[in-house]
């Protein structure tokens, strides 16, 4: 009898073993750590990070670095969050969306970097709060932007010259619309979609007004109306096609096959335009700045690709060395992925060959690139107010889709965004 185990006891034992196997994965306790510096980022290693890691290891042979790529989507970010929370050995990681930034910084998953930044003269630009390049949580620096992503409007030079349209050096949103209309042909839409009208006029935190949302501002409705009208007159890509073909993730293909002309985008998409093997095309691309809106000249782009240090990292000094290296000497290799360094510590020629490929003159109008991207000092915005951000983002996208499909008028659509955004802000601020 003594050798017997009751059935209930056995099952309880199994439950305990199961719990023991699962709970550590959910706990906030530390997991197994190694001497290797663990870095998690969303950019594929081959698009620059591996070269940064190699260069770092050459300079600091005492450190070993392992770069792990996570896919920067909902599931990939959840994987990173659970890994951080579960005590997986991560020392340095990247965050690409403002909502995740606030969540991670506010939940104790980001080390306070204020003193380290303040102590380094090379990094004093991160202390600027007018055009912040760092994410501050309760006045403390929790994340540093490694890249700046200015927006611009790309022109297909072949089609532009054929249409007899001047390449604009500065223009308004009305001129953008008129240009798109001129460039519209029987087989090419004038543009993919419109620039972010409200962002250009209003700048950072444009969704918020005090403790409510800011969707009562007329520029939001103007954006919905403009997009809808341009789709209706074929000067913008039909939204039905965008949704049916999931085109948002593959805009470059339609630009390269000349389905549309004007493309409002950012440097990270330039890599498709010089890869003639994978993306063959027979035209050069030129650059224009984003149009202005009622005198508002915010660029629409932002400082982005925030690097953060895990506060639980036992290798905090090594992690900081790596962060600093990435921001300074490591920024060159990241140009290949279209990541312009926040610190601007690369020469213009390095940027041209890094971002536009080995034969920049073959695929691009380099003069316009120098003028628009290198010569200008665009006003980039970084949002610091993020209450209810994911809910507002979803509501905005849902109502925009309905409006641009022609199923809902701009006025009611933006009023619904406002209602949902107000509710999300109120709920978030109530629970925080």
């Amino acid at each position: 009898m003594r050798n017997e185990v009751s059935r209930r006891g056995f099952l309880a034992g199994m439950a305990a073993v199961g719990a023991a196997a699962v709970v550590p994965g959910c706990s906030s306790g530390g997991g197994a750590t190694s001497n290797v510096l663990q870095v998690w980022g969303g950019v594929p290693a081959a698009s620059g990070p591996q070269k940064v890691v190699d260069a770092f290891q050459r300079k600091f042979p005492q450190y070993q670095v392992n770069y792990t790529r996570f896919v920067n989507d909902d599931r990939g970010n959840l994987k990173l969050d659970t890994a951080l929370q579960g005590g997986v050995d991560i020392d340095v990681y990247f965050t690409y969306t403002q909502a995740n930034l606030a969540l991670r910084a506010g939940s104790g998953l980001a080390a306070d970097l204020t003193d380290r930044v303040a102590a380094d003269p090379d990094l004093k630009v991160f202390l600027d709060t007018d055009q912040p390049r760092a994410f501050l949580d309760a006045g403390r620096i929790k994340a540093l932007a490694t890249a700046r992503e200015p927006y611009f409007v790309l022109f297909n030079e072949k089609l532009r010259e054929r249409a007899g349209v001047e390449l604009p050096h500065e223009w308004t949103i009305e001129q953008f619309r008129a240009t798109a209309r001129k460039l519209t042909t029987a087989r090419t839409y004038g543009c993919y979609t419109i620039p972010d009208v409200a962002r250009i006029k209003l700048g950072p935190n444009y969704w918020y007004d005090g403790d409510r949302s800011n969707f009562g501002d007329p520029h939001f409705e103007q954006a919905f109306r403009l997009g809808r009208e341009m789709i209706a007159d074929r000067s913008a890509f039909p939204w039905r096609e965008v949704l049916a073909r999931h085109l948002d993730a593959y805009q470059q293909n339609s630009f390269l096959t000349e389905e549309f002309h004007l493309w409002s985008t950012a440097p990270f998409n330039l890599r498709y335009l010089y890869d003639a093997k994978k993306y063959p095309h027979d035209f050069k691309v030129s650059f224009a700045p984003p149009p202005t809106v009622d005198g508002g000249d915010w660029n629409g782009g932002s400082y982005n690709n925030f690097v953060m240090v895990n506060p639980k990292s036992p290798k905090a000094d090594a992690a900081w060395e790596f962060v600093k290296f990435w921001l300074t000497e490591g920024s060159g290799p990241m140009l290949a992925g279209g990541k312009l360094p926040t610190l601007g510590n690369v020469t213009d020629d390095q940027v041209v060959t890094g971002v536009l490929g080995k034969e920049p003159d073959k695929y691009f109008d380099v003069d316009s690139f120098r003028r628009v991207v290198l010569g200008a000092d665009p006003k980039l915005s970084t949002d610091t107010r993020l209450a209810g951000f994911p809910e507002i983002n979803l509501a905005y996208r849902q109502q925009r889709d309905l409006c641009w499909l022609g199923e809902k008028d701009p006025g009611p659509a933006i009023r619904d965004v406002r209602r949902l955004a107000d509710a999300a802000i109120a709920r978030t601020e109530r629970s925080s």
């Binding site: 017997e4 009751s6 199994m14 199961g18 719990a19 906030s28 959840l78 109502q399 309905l402 199923e407």
Partner: protein, 309 residues
């Protein structure tokens, strides 16, 4: 013999209760890996969901960030128009796709039960959608239902009909229902086929002698004998359709607007996009209760109506 049997009985009872012999314990060890999986990936998450439904938690803040919310999440659900919209869409999705799948599956099962040339191949072809990968199905339908260049609209265009399908808030849910029915009919027909093989032949012979027609035989013999199978299919399909997520996530992401945001997808958005895990767990519990009630009602409706009852 009698004495020996009587004498053996208490010995058997003694072995059964209350513990397990070392030999029996070894048997348990064989099933332990599977049991461990059930405990780790089903039982613990299940209990967690029930507990989390009464909390406010965003996952990222860790266990320390869990705060007790009492019934707040359930009160919020009652007032949440997004939840009720999703519940309504789920009812439409389940209410249309499940009966359609069953009816078409029954018709196909009966058709395939008859002697036909190439019957085995036909059965395999109709069953194929059930085993094909969801992503492959989604991508294929996405191309077929492209409003401008898809094959479906090329055909419908001849009759002057060109729905927007996944790019229309009016047509996206019907498109998903078409896909669900297409994917489930083969499975239903196969289950019905096996049930039809067991239908009592002597009753059909008696009916033939009595001069019963096809409809009379179906109504009085076939349908009552298939009733338990139908209930099984209804219950499993209702549960499956209520949890429908893969194709929605892949094709529409709940849109356009919120026209395909069913309960499962709404729960996913709430938990994994908004990081409101307590609220998402409460939605899960409420959904579970709803599906349970629906299942019990379906089960109750058939009692006493089957041929063998």
């Amino acid at each position: 013999m009698t004495t020996a049997t009587v004498a053996a009985a208490p010995a058997v009872r003694t072995e059964k209760a209350p513990g397990i012999s070392p030999r029996g314990w070894i048997g348990f060890l064989f099933v332990a890996p599977n049991l461990l999986g059930v405990v780790a990936f089903t039982l613990i998450p299940l209990i967690s969901v029930v507990l989390l439904a009464f909390t406010d938690w965003n996952l990222v803040s860790g266990f320390g960030g869990i705060s007790f919310a009492g019934l707040d999440n359930f009160v919020a659900i009652a007032k949440d128009p997004g939840f009720w919209n999703a519940a309504g869409l789920t009812m439409v999705y389940v209410g249309v796709s499940v009966p359609l799948t069953v009816v078409l599956g029954l018709a196909l099962g009966i058709a395939l039960n008859r002697p036909l040339p190439g019957r085995a191949i036909l059965r395999a072809i109709f069953f194929l959608p059930y085993i094909v990968n969801t992503v492959a199905i989604g991508m294929t339908w996405l191309m077929l239902m492209n409003p401008r260049a898809g094959l479906v609209n090329q055909v419908l265009g001849v009759f002057g009909i060109e729905p927007g399908w996944f790019a229309s808030s009016h047509w996206a849910l019907p498109a998903l229902i078409v896909m669900a029915v297409w994917g489930g009919v083969g499975y239903c027909s196969l289950i019905y086929l096996s049930a039809l093989q067991d239908a009592p032949k002597q009753l059909y012979e008696a009916a033939d002698i009595d001069g019963a027609g096809l409809w009379a035989k179906f109504r009085t013999i076939t349908w009552p004998s298939l009733l338990p199978t139908t209930i099984f299919l209804l219950v499993t399909l209702i549960i499956g359709a209520s949890q429908g997520f893969g194709l929605i996530a892949l094709i529409t992401a709940g849109g356009p607007g919120d026209s395909t945001t069913t309960i499962s997808y709404y729960m996913y958005q709430t938990g994994f996009q908004f990081y409101r895990f307590g609220y998402a767990s409460a939605i899960g519990l409420v959904t579970f209760a709803g599906v349970l009630v629906l299942t019990l009602l379906t089960w109750r409706a058939q009692r006493g109506r089957a041929l063998n009852d």
